[in-house]
C-alpha cells in the first residue's frame, strides 16, 4: 500500500497549475470503500490589507516543505479514519484568481474527511515553510505578514 508511487502522489510542490477533477480521480483510484471526498482549493485574492495585489510570489524551503506537509498529512491519518489524502502547493509567481493550494481527503464517511481537510489546511498555514511576497500595481513589493487568526485556527486542533 505504502509503495513509493503512492507516497509521491500524496505531496506535490509545483509551479504548474493543477486540475481538481484529475487529482480527485487519482486520489480515489483503487479505493472502493471511499464514501466521502472533501477538497479545499485556495486561490489568490486580488486584495490584501486593503491594497490591490497584481502578483503573488511563493517561496518555500525545499526539503523541509515536503517533510512538514507529510508530517501534517500523517497526523491527520492518525486522528481520523481516512482512506487517502493529498496536498498540492504551488510555488513561484501567481496571479489573482490562480489556484495556490489543494488539500483533498477521502474517507468512508463524511465527518472524518471534513475534519481532516480543515485540520490539514489550518496546520499547513502555520507549520509549512512557505512565504508569500506580493507586488502592488504601483510596483511596491512587500512580504505578507503572518496572521494571528491563522495561529488561533491551528490552536483549535491542539490535543
Amino acid at each position: 500500500m505504502a509503495s513509493f508511487n503512492r507516497e509521491t502522489l500524496c505531496i506535490k510542490i509545483q509551479t504548474e497549475d493543477f486540475d481538481l477533477t484529475t487529482e480527485i480521480s487519482a486520489l480515489r483510484q483503487d479505493h472502493k470503500n471511499i464514501g466521502a471526498v472533501v477538497s479545499f482549493v485556495g486561490t489568490v485574492r486580488d486584495m490584501n490589507e486593503g491594497d490591490e495585489v497584481s502578483v503573488l510570489e511563493l517561496e518555500h524551503y525545499a526539503g523541509m516543505t515536503e517533510k512538514s506537509l507529510e508530517k501534517i498529512r500523517l497526523e491527520a491519518h492518525q486522528r481520523w479514519s481516512l482512506e487517502a489524502s493529498m496536498i498540492i502547493h504551488r510555488v513561484g509567481k501567481l496571479l489573482p484568481s490562480d489556484q495556490i493550494v489543494l488539500v483533498a481527503v477521502a474517507s468512508q464517511h463524511r465527518e472524518n474527511a471534513f475534519h481532516a481537510a480543515h485540520f490539514i489546511m489550518d496546520y499547513l498555514k502555520t507549520n509549512a515553510p512557505f512565504w508569500k511576497k506580493e507586488t502592488l500595481p504601483n510596483g511596491d513589493v512587500r512580504w505578507v505578514d503572518s496572521r494571528v487568526s491563522d495561529q488561533e485556527a491551528a490552536q483549535r486542533w491542539a490535543v
Partner: protein, 88 residues
C-alpha cells in the same frame, strides 16, 4: 576552508535573505547550540542582531525540523532561519 561535512550549513529565507544579503553560508561547527550560533551572527552588526538575535518571531529549523534556540548543533547540521510562515 570549511568543508560542508565539518561545518554547520545555514540558510536564510524570505525577507531575512533580503535583509541579510545572502541565502546561505557555512560556519565552523564550533557552536554547540542554535543560541551560540545566533550570538556569533549577532556580532556582525545591526541587521543580523535585529533580524535574528532580537527577533521574538524568529523561526528556526534544524535538519528540516522546527527547532528552538536551545537545540543542540553538530557538524553537518543544516540550520535555517526564517520569519513566520505564510503559505496556503
Amino acid at each position: 576552508m570549511t568543508s560542508r561535512t565539518s561545518a554547520i550549513h545555514i540558510l536564510y529565507f524570505a525577507n531575512f535573505r533580503e535583509v541579510l544579503g545572502q541565502a546561505e553560508e557555512n560556519l565552523p561547527a564550533t557552536h554547540n547550540t542554535v543560541s551560540e550560533l545566533l550570538t556569533t551572527l549577532a556580532a556582525r552588526g545591526e541587521p543580523w542582531k535585529v533580524a535574528l538575535f532580537d527577533n521574538e518571531n524568529l523561526q528556526i529549523a534544524v535538519n528540516h525540523d522546527i527547532a528552538s534556540r536551545e537545540t543542540p548543533l553538530k557538524a553537518g547540521d543544516e540550520v535555517a532561519f526564517f520569519p513566520p510562515v505564510t503559505g496556503g
